[in-house]
């Protein structure tokens, strides 16, 4: 999961950061939410690249009740020596497409609609398909996400639902 870089207090973090789009701030070796409610260290990717990737993840599978930190966790695995070059190239292509559409960068496109248009234009690229495919498990298989959808996960340890509402529907 995401952690605040230990050396930084929330205030110090905000002071040392620059905005990356509306939702994120970045600094040397980290990305954080604009409110600094969460932060994530990055070692191999440019912090702006990771911020872009997190926004892209949300734009692919937007759930307004799911915080950015879960999207960050879903794409954190791309911050590796092996994956980084491909991701940097993919995000560069994404930004180039954004520039082509009249935005300063992908993150600078303020409306989701505009960003989704950019994504639609690269929907069949291996980069998009890799990120989308990875999110199917990266996002929805996070146990911490499940309660946000009401999903209760395993029940064996609690003896199943036989005495806990398997047939408790009341509105029919």
């Amino acid at each position: 999961m995401t952690t605040t870089p230990r050396s930084l207090t929330r205030r110090a973090l905000l002071q040392q950061s620059v905005a990356a789009g509306a939702a994120f701030v970045v600094g040397s070796g980290y990305v954080a939410g604009s409110s600094a409610a969460w932060a994530m260290e990055v070692q191999h990717l440019q912090p702006e690249t990771m911020a872009t990737l997190i926004q892209m993840a949300r734009d692919i599978y937007p759930h307004d009740h799911v915080g950015d930190e879960f999207y960050a966790a879903a794409v954190k695995g791309y911050d590796s020596a092996d994956a980084a070059p491909g991701i940097e190239a993919g995000v560069a292509a994404l930004n180039a497409a954004a520039v082509g559409a009249g935005h300063a960068s992908y993150l600078a496109a303020g409306w989701e609609r505009d960003r989704v248009d950019i994504l639609r234009g690269m929907e069949n690229s291996p980069f998009f398909q890799m990120v989308r495919g990875g999110l199917v498990t990266g996002l929805y298989n996070q146990k911490a996400v499940w309660p946000l959808f009401g999903y209760e996960g395993e029940s064996f340890s609690k003896g199943g639902y036989i005495d806990r509402g398997f047939d408790d529907i009341s509105w029919l």
Partner: protein, 523 residues
């Protein structure tokens, strides 16, 4: 002699695969005093080992050796390396299965006669019928403890069923109930009753659901007549100059090639691996593969006409609570060509957890149309469609010589195109399924495409005449007297019903036949 058996012991029956077909056959033979060596590619997992987490369990149990796909089915695009969702483990796919246990309807045994000529379909009558199978079905139902058969009560309905039932009744359907399930509604056969855990697909941790893994297999082993060798992957069936099979070559748990001699070989590796094995066993005497004089090995692959319907309501359902599939509407299972297709289909309740729902609701989809559906996961109800699909000669398992598995063996390529009858039936079922939910106030419905196949049938089909199929009415290959097929690949046609009860009934019947023929000295 008692188990374990020597590799050179040529008096044993070798059974390949220990699922619904092979697991039951092995036990039934052992109970009759026949010496059996069962070779199973997968490892052994028991209720305490099952993991109630969809992806983790998939990693534990699923068959993940490479396969390839072709054809117009959407699975070939969305899951190109995973044509089927089946198990590699002692007990086979009976660890995953949901337990729906239905007999064929009488007319379904004679599809060619009753449906007539269907263009592009390779329909054929089974050489057996409902009357022949009735006593074997009864034994199978008793073995599996099927609810609503014998004096076994039905399961209670969960939330998902209640929505389904209310919609079905509002629509005027009459044959609606919690299914005939191989899941105990009360203690039965030393297994407890269902605790409504809701992970039936991941292996029942209470053992309330029947699985060969913890019933037939240990019971067979307890006789001393059955040896199960796990992590034993059969590579080839070998034969002598007279054309009789004499044993099998397999890779053991350490990857070493071994040769087990045999008096009889029974193949039960599920409908991809069984034909693959026959084809990979080609020799100078049988250049097209074993038992393939008809050219039908691998052909007529059927997967049932399937699909799902999910619906969202304005209030919670929590469909994941309780049994995964205990609910059925049978009104559409009749043969009634006025609907625009031959054969029929069943509608059965189904729920997936959030992780699988994300993967399977609309594979490849993204954006708000998709995510607003998942946002309502708690308010979702779901059903699965299972209907008779048309056997087609060109829907087939072949060897893909360009792709090898970890043992260097050519893998199975699975080619499938929907038949127009399949498409017409699926569209009808989508319409009816959505109407069921609309009738109880669904705010949105989703006609969901088929998943990787769970029912795999027909690739070594049963036929009266040797030219039309691979095995006779006992599952014995037409070409080689001591080579049998013992799994779902024997199916001549698929019928509308989930197949496992029929696979089990055929295995019990086959064991009886083999034991009789052995003692008569005919085998």
């Amino acid at each position: 002699m008692a188990a374990p058996f020597d590799l050179n012991d040529d008096s044993v029956v070798v059974v390949i695969g220990t699922g619904a077909g092979g697991g039951v056959l092995s036990n039934e033979l052992a109970q009759k005093g026949v010496s059996v060596v069962a070779l199973e590619a997968g490892g052994r997992y028991l209720p305490q080992d099952y993991i109630n987490d969809e992806w983790e369990s998939f990693g534990q149990l699923a068959w993940l050796d490479p396969r390839t796909t072709s054809g117009d089915w959407r699975v070939a695009k969305d899951f190109s390396g995973l044509p089927a969702w089946i198990v590699k483990a002692v007990g086979g796919t009976t660890t995953h299965w949901a337990g729906a246990s239905l007999r064929f309807q009488d007319h379904e045994w004679k599809a060619r006669t009753n449906y007539g000529e269907v263009q592009g379909a390779n329909l054929l009558d089974w050489p057996i019928d409902g009357a022949e199978m009735a006593p074997w079905y009864e034994k199978a139902e008793a073995k599996l403890g099927v609810t609503r058969t014998g004096d076994r009560a039905g399961l209670p309905g969960n939330n998902n069923f209640k929505v389904f039932e209310a919609g079905a009744k509002a629509l005027g359907y009459e044959q609606v109930h919690t299914g005939r399930m191989a899941i105990n509604s009360s203690d039965y056969d030393e297994r407890p009753s269902c605790q409504q855990v809701g992970f039936c697909f991941q292996g029942c941790k209470f053992g309330a659901k029947w699985s060969a893994a913890y019933t037939d297999i240990p019971r067979g082993e307890a006789t001393g007549n059955l040896e199960v060798r796990e992590k034993a992957h059969v590579a080839r069936i070998v034969h002598d100059a007279s054309g009789k099979v004499t044993g099998v070559e397999y890779f053991d748990a350490d990857g070493n090639l071994q040769m087990q001699k045999a008096r009889i070989v029974c193949v039960a590796g599920n409908s991809f691996e069984s034909p693959r094995l026959l084809l990979n066993s080609a020799s100078s005497m049988f250049p097209d593969g074993l038992a393939n004089s008809s050219g039908q090995v691998g052909r007529n692959y059927m997967r049932h006409m399937t699909g799902s319907v999910y619906a969202v309501f304005d209030k919670p359902v929590k469909m994941w609570r309780g049994t995964t599939m205990a609910g059925i509407i049978q009104d559409e299972s009749r043969h009634d060509p006025s609907r625009g297709f031959v054969g029929g289909y069943e509608l059965e309740t189904l729920s997936l957890g959030l992780p699988f729902m994300a993967a399977f609701l609309d594979p490849g989809a993204w954006g708000r149309e998709f995510t607003t559906a998942l946002d309502m996961y708690e308010n979702m109800a779901g059903m699965w469609i299972v209907g008779e699909d048309m056997p087609q000669e060109t829907n087939r398992v072949t060897l893909n010589h360009d792709v090898k598995d970890q043992y260097g063996l050519s893998v199975a390529n699975v080619h499938f195109d929907d038949h127009p009858n399949d498409i017409a039936m699926r569209n009808h079922a989508y319409k009816q399924g959505m109407a069921v939910y609309d009738a109880v106030g669904a705010t949105r419905t989703f006609p969901t495409p088929p998943y990787p196949s769970t029912h795999n049938l027909g690739t070594n089909r049963m036929s009266e005449n040797a030219r039309d199929g691979v095995v006779n009415k006992w599952g014995q290959t037409h070409d080689i007297a001591n080579l049998f097929i013992s799994d779902g690949s024997q199916f001549t046609t698929g019928a509308a019903e989930n197949p496992t009860l029929t696979i089990v009934a055929l295995a019990i019947r086959q064991a009886d036949h083999i034991a009789r023929e052995m003692s008569a000295g005919n085998l």
